[in-house]
């Protein structure tokens, strides 16, 4: 398990954009805007903006507190998922080791995984939206599915990469940097 400080550190690495042209919902909280790397989630995919989340989440329009809670929820779940993908899913992960220092040291590569994870989560949320409005029509099912999963031709060759594929690539790149040594199998020859 990663400590709350580590999770908060990852959460603060990428932020949500300030909504524009959305009178009535007000500004989003500093916690949601916080970005130590200077990157925003809409930099990972243009559709993943606080405005689009506002227009596609819930049954009815959210108020400012609800929107901030939803955005923070994406940040928190995204941070947990990114840490699990990079550390816990690596064969070299040691459950007894505290990776807090490693996270701080390698935030430059971890934030990329985090950004793609939150972008994919937000897009999956848009896919199942019950709301009815211009953003819901713009982000129609076919488009979102393509953006999320990419396109393969009839021979199975990837024509365009989706967010999930970019996320997997970012995870593999981060693991190569954070755990540079291959897994060593120490033992007698069995033949």
């Amino acid at each position: 398990m990663h400590s709350e400080t580590t999770i908060q550190y990852v959460m603060g690495s990428v932020g949500w954009n300030e909504p524009i042209n959305m009178p009535g919902i007000g500004a989003i909280s500093d916690l949601n805007k916080a970005s130590s790397t200077g990157r925003l989630f809409n930099g990972f995919h243009a559709l993943v903006t606080s405005e689009d989340v506002y227009k596609t989440v819930g049954d009815d329009p959210l108020n400012n507190d609800q929107l901030n809670a939803v955005l923070l929820g994406f940040k928190k779940q995204g941070a947990l998922e990114a840490l699990t993908l990079i550390f816990n899913n690596s064969p070299q992960y040691n459950p007894l080791e505290d990776y807090a220092g490693t996270v701080v040291k390698y935030i430059g590569v971890i934030h990329r995984v985090y950004g793609y994870v939150v972008a994919a989560m937000a897009m999956q949320s848009m896919l199942t939206s019950k709301r009815i409005n211009d953003v819901e029509r713009k982000t129609r099912y076919g488009l979102l599915k393509t953006e999320l999963e990419g396109v393969k031709n009839e021979k199975g060759v990837t024509v365009s990469r989706g967010l999930i594929s970019r996320q997997a690539y970012a995870v593999s790149e981060a693991q190569k940097i954070i755990f540079p040594n291959d897994v060593l199998i120490i033992g007698e020859n069995v033949w």
């Binding site: 009815d60 329009p61 009815i132 409005n133 211009d134 029509r137 713009k138």
Partner: protein
């Protein structure tokens, strides 16, 4: 009525006549939280020129999508036929459609039963007092309401509490020149 009435500055011709009907509906309909737009233009799809999406003008001049937005209890906009007829060159008549999309539970929170016909009645009662718009028919269903507009991406349906209908009529306006 409360909500958002998007009127134009210095409307001319059919826009002027539509704005009168639009403002009358906004002032007299006993509904709360309604988004009203004026005349929608048909914007062709970038690849398929026979597919159109409706686009309206907001008060600030920006274009907007006038279709259903669930942040409002109801959304109303107008379309006009491509051809306006005149006999003497001053008074023009054009077929105009008022498209109403609403959430019946939000519009009539205390009404027991199916309120779609009540919505039709409320709109027609207001329109009866407007001289430059003479209703000729009332229609429901995607084809009747949205006609040649592209409805492929429209998810909202005509199932309680959502409802949409259109009132078609003759809109009269003067062009004095």
């Amino acid at each position: 009525m409360t909500g958002n009435n998007n009127t134009l500055e210095n409307p001319k011709g059919s826009d002027f006549a539509i704005q009168r009907v639009q403002t009358l509906l906004f002032n007299k309909l006993p509904w709360e939280n309604v988004q009203m737009y004026g005349r929608a233009v048909k914007v062709p799809h970038p690849e398929e020129k026979t597919r159109f999406t409706p686009q309206v003008r907001k008060t600030n001049g920006d274009h907007a999508d006038p279709l259903r937005d669930d942040a409002f209890a109801a959304n109303i906009f107008f379309t006009v036929a491509d051809r306006a007829n005149t006999a003497e060159g001053v008074l023009y008549k054009v077929e105009c459609k008022i498209i109403v999309m609403l959430d019946l539970k939000k519009v009539y929170p205390n009404f027991n039963g199916l309120a779609d016909e009540k919505a039709h009645e409320d709109v027609l009662r207001v329109l009866k007092t407007q001289k430059n718009f003479a209703p000729t028919s009332i229609g429901t269903g995607l084809k009747e309401c949205f006609g040649e507009f592209d409805v492929e991406n429209i998810k909202f349906t005509d199932i309680q509490p959502n409802h949409f209908f259109c009132v078609t009529g003759q809109l009269s306006y003067n062009i004095s020149c």
